[in-house]
Amino acid sequence: MAHPQSPDSDPPSPKPAGSPKVGLFVTCLVDMFRPSVGFAALKLLEDAGCTVIVPAEQTCCGQPAFNSGDNKDTRAVAAQVIAAFEGLDYVVAPSGSCAGMIREHYPELFADDPAMAQRAQHVAKRTYELTSFLVDVLGVTKVDAALKATVTYHDSCSGLRELEVKAQPRRLLSGVTGLKLAELPGAEVCCGFGGTFCVKYPEISDKMVTNKAEEIVATGADTLLAGDLGCLLNMAGKLKRLGAPTKVRHVAEVLAGMTDGPAIGDPAGSVSGEER
Amino acid sequence: MSARDDILGSIRKSLGRGPLTGEPAAQLHQRLAQPQRNLIPDRTAGRDTEGLTAQFADKSREVACTVDEVDSLDAVPEAVRAYLSRENLPARVVQAPALAQGPDGGLDWSKTPTLEVKTGTSDGSEDTSVTPVFAAVAETGTLMLTSDTATPTGLNFLPENHIAVVRRSQVVGPLEDAWGRFRAARAKAGGAGPEDGFVMPRTVNLITGPSRTGDIEQKIQMGAHGPRRLHVIIVAD
């Protein structure tokens, strides 16, 4: 197997010269539920000077199987992701959960297979969550976007704890014209999504997401943002069920200035509600 | 096979080895014979006795002790009397035998005749005990007390109020410094120093503030089972 760079070489140094080749890991939820998040990510990366490639051989990162204890199937999916992305400078996902899966867990999956472990390590080191990549690697300090809204922000667990994504989205949001951030008390507490958890233990998940929805509403913010579509679908679904008017969007949509379409869970063609 | 052999055997089987012998065992024996300090927080570093004493007093107050400072041991009885009067507590104390002894005959209570002073341990009926300490830890406002002929443990727990007499020279920075003094002071007779072993008293109590509980709806209440009040008298010596 030929490798574009020696497997143990460090990732390209921060703030790479020229136009880095970035593989966009779309994530299965964005692909299926909200492609606009993928295009927002694409725009942000291209605006920052990246050459973005979207490998066609990607499906899912394998987390559903991994968290269900099915390592054999996880390895099969992971091997596919590794093969699809290992030739690129970076892998970027609009999700802390999927990026965390690749970065933190792929290498351990192949602990018994040194050759694969090396390839997994190679890809893992180059994998970033979107806002973290923009800020920490590319050094982006300002995005060209405007949204007249008071937003609140939920820190999705994997991004926060596996990848230390906390300041980066806030830093970028602070540059969005017209946007005000009202911090969410308990922003670091899980929303109750947890992948298959939310359907295996719906009652407990309900309690968690109900608490979360109540705290969101109490901030008085008109829009909720987060960096992971799984959590967003869960929180949007609960806010809708409770009849709350809060709009829900992926942070990338706001940073890319792509907030014309309906928010998550809103009818197609509905007036977005935010003043622009 | 005895339970002991079974358990030790199971541990060794899980660890994939037999009993430790030779060099590995020698290293472990060495680790026990000359205990090393681990990471120690910086907060007490670079302080002299005065600085440590001030820090100890601050930390003690943080954990809900009251603190008095007096110039000499002679002033302790009056400080005790004044404290009891201030707090509206009965003018009765039981003192540790250690405070009745000492090179200069112990505390002189003759100038506080209104105080009833008993010497000994506690049967649970006393209002207030007065005890010495072995050391005081500035890092956390912690008192170290050891059990002995003249320092019974009951005095630390049974009375409603506990007054601890701390001499400035007993104040150390981190807890490890207290253990250092403890090992040196209790080195085995005939040994060259603490590395030849030391005698552990039956009880060592580290006490950081008065007794408390949060078991009723997480609301902190003083005086759960031990003393409700812990008053520290720091003596410049």
């Binding site: 066609a56 958890f197 998940s205 | 339970a3």
Partner: protein, 476 residues
């Protein structure tokens, strides 16, 4: 203790619908989380100390047999006795034997989770010895005939109104019209009630936070002083402790003490840390006449060398459950055995089997908050995942879940087919959901829609749209 972990879902259902319990659980946040955050912020070395604590325990576990033998030597040299027990039954019998030999009528008890693990109280009662819990929380739940719901705040699930009822029912010698409203009232009443019991106790039983190899000392950490009085005033002192509580030296214990109270209650030090070394000596004015350490294995030695060894670093601070959103939702009793919360979700299947406790490692979102606060850096989510792997390998997970996984895997490893399937699903759901933007119910997704709406897909997949864009020449 009989486990109800198999009924976790039912237990959780009842807990979620118990308004009193839900009110009581609100205290976890203010009582523990905020205090911990403050005290940790006040110690710059806290993160480095976590590394040190982890390293000390790892060193101990790698040399556990050595340190246990040294501990035993030093206990014996100080006139005490060590009793090695493989099983809960052996430990119970040994403790009863000591009580019988001393013709004990009552024993006082300091808080001990290992005593809960071996079901000590019931056993003593069955054999004519009355155990009296002295920790206020333990005392309350003993009156209520309940197990603890938290490892350091056993009565956290009880409100003061409930305690008032219990005290009036049990303390019949007191004025029935007395005031029982403020926490102070309860604390004072329990203090007065328990005073005489300490002195009358034939045996005092405590747990241990540490066993110190170099000195043969047992160490307990309390805020009330109850355990300390239990071991001082009982005529014999029996310590019940599990193997992994050992640390080499006083210095090692000191390091871990810096982590323990901060992680547990948000204190820099708990009020009392008491070291017991052997029975009363000729020069002592007080203290117990006998000193026994009952060392319990109960499956721990078999955890060494496995992917669950790290769990034996646990110092029982409860930070994991204090920060766990699942624990906060359902409380401790739902877990169905002695140890609740994330540490219980790993330890319980290790001690009573994954067949019995399989729900526990599954009932986690893997949010990782437990690991982020664990002073011993135990990778709790990773170990819960290991249990899910074991279940999957043994075929213990539900057939429906296995079938779903197989189907998912079939598509996920065939990108072409996957594209087709997602195109169809996304298109169908997108069209159906266009008007409302969401589904309030959906066949096959009732686990989701039973409690929340499902936002509708936008209608086309990213990959289809992207291919179109590329065909039109790239950047829009």
């Amino acid at each position: 203790m009989q486990s109800t972990s198999k009924q976790f879902k039912d237990n959780a259902h009842h807990a979620l619908n118990d308004a009193t319990l839900q009110r009581a659980l609100l205290n976890v946040k203010t009582g523990f989380q905020e205090k911990r955050a403050q005290v940790v912020a006040g110690l710059p070395e806290f993160e480095a100390l976590r590394d040190t604590g982890r390293d000390i325990k790892n060193h101990v576990l790698a040399n556990l047999d050595f340190y246990l033998e040294r501990f035993e030597e030093n206990v014996t040299a100080n006139g005490g006795h060590v009793h090695w027990c493989r099983t809960p039954a052996e430990a119970r019998e040994k403790i009863l034997e000591i009580c019988k030999r001393r013709e004990a009528k009552t024993v006082t008890k300091g808080k001990s989770m290992v005593a809960e693990e071996i079901g000590l109280n019931e056993y003593l009662e069955e054999n004519g010895v009355e155990p009296i819990e002295t920790d206020l929380g333990e005392y309350i739940i003993q009156l209520r005939h309940e197990p603890p719901s938290h490892i350091i705040a056993p009565a956290i699930h009880v409100t003061r109104e409930q305690i008032a009822e219990d005290f009036r029912r049990e303390h019949t010698d007191l004025d029935p019209n007395r005031r029982l409203e403020e926490p102070r009232d309860f604390t004072d009443e329990a203090r007065a009630k328990l005073r005489d019991r300490y002195f009358a106790a034939d045996v005092g039983i405590t747990g241990a936070n540490f066993l110190i190899a170099e000195t043969g000392s047992t160490v307990i950490v309390t805020n009330e002083g109850n355990g300390d009085m239990t071991q001082l005033l009982g005529k014999a002192h029996v310590v019940i402790a599990s193997l992994e509580k050992i640390v080499p030296t006083l210095e090692d214990a000191s390091t871990i003490l810096r982590l323990l109270a901060r992680s547990a209650t948000g204190q820099e030090m708990s009020v009392y840390t008491s070291f017991s070394t052997g029975p009363r000596r000729s020069e002592d004015m007080d203290g117990p006449e006998e000193f026994h350490v009952v060392l319990l294995d109960n499956g721990r030695s078999a955890m060494l060398g496995t992917e669950f060894q790290d769990m034996l670093r646990c110092i029982r601070c409860a930070a994991c459950m204090n920060h766990c959103p699942v624990y906060a939702a359902v409380g401790g009793h739902a877990y169905g055995w002695v140890y609740p919360g994330p540490m219980g979700s790993v330890l319980t299947p290790s001690l009573i089997g994954v067949e019995e406790a399989g729900h526990l490692p599954n009932a986690s979102t893997f949010c990782g908050r437990c690991e982020s606060v664990c002073p011993m850096r135990i990778p709790l989510p990773k170990m819960m995942r290991h249990y899910r792997q074991r279940e999957h390998e043994k075929g213990l997970n539900p057939q429906k879940a296995r079938a779903g996984l197989a189907l998912w895997s079939y598509f996920a490893t065939r990108p072409g087919l996957y594209r087709l399937a997602t195109r169809i699903a996304s298109g169908l759901l997108g069209r159906l959901g266009k008007v409302n933007g969401r589904f309030t119910s959906l066949p096959l997704a009732s686990g989701w829609t039973s409690v929340r709406d499902l936002p509708a897909p936008e209608g086309r997949t990213f990959h289809d749209l992207y291919r179109e864009r590329q065909a039109k020449g790239g950047r829009a």
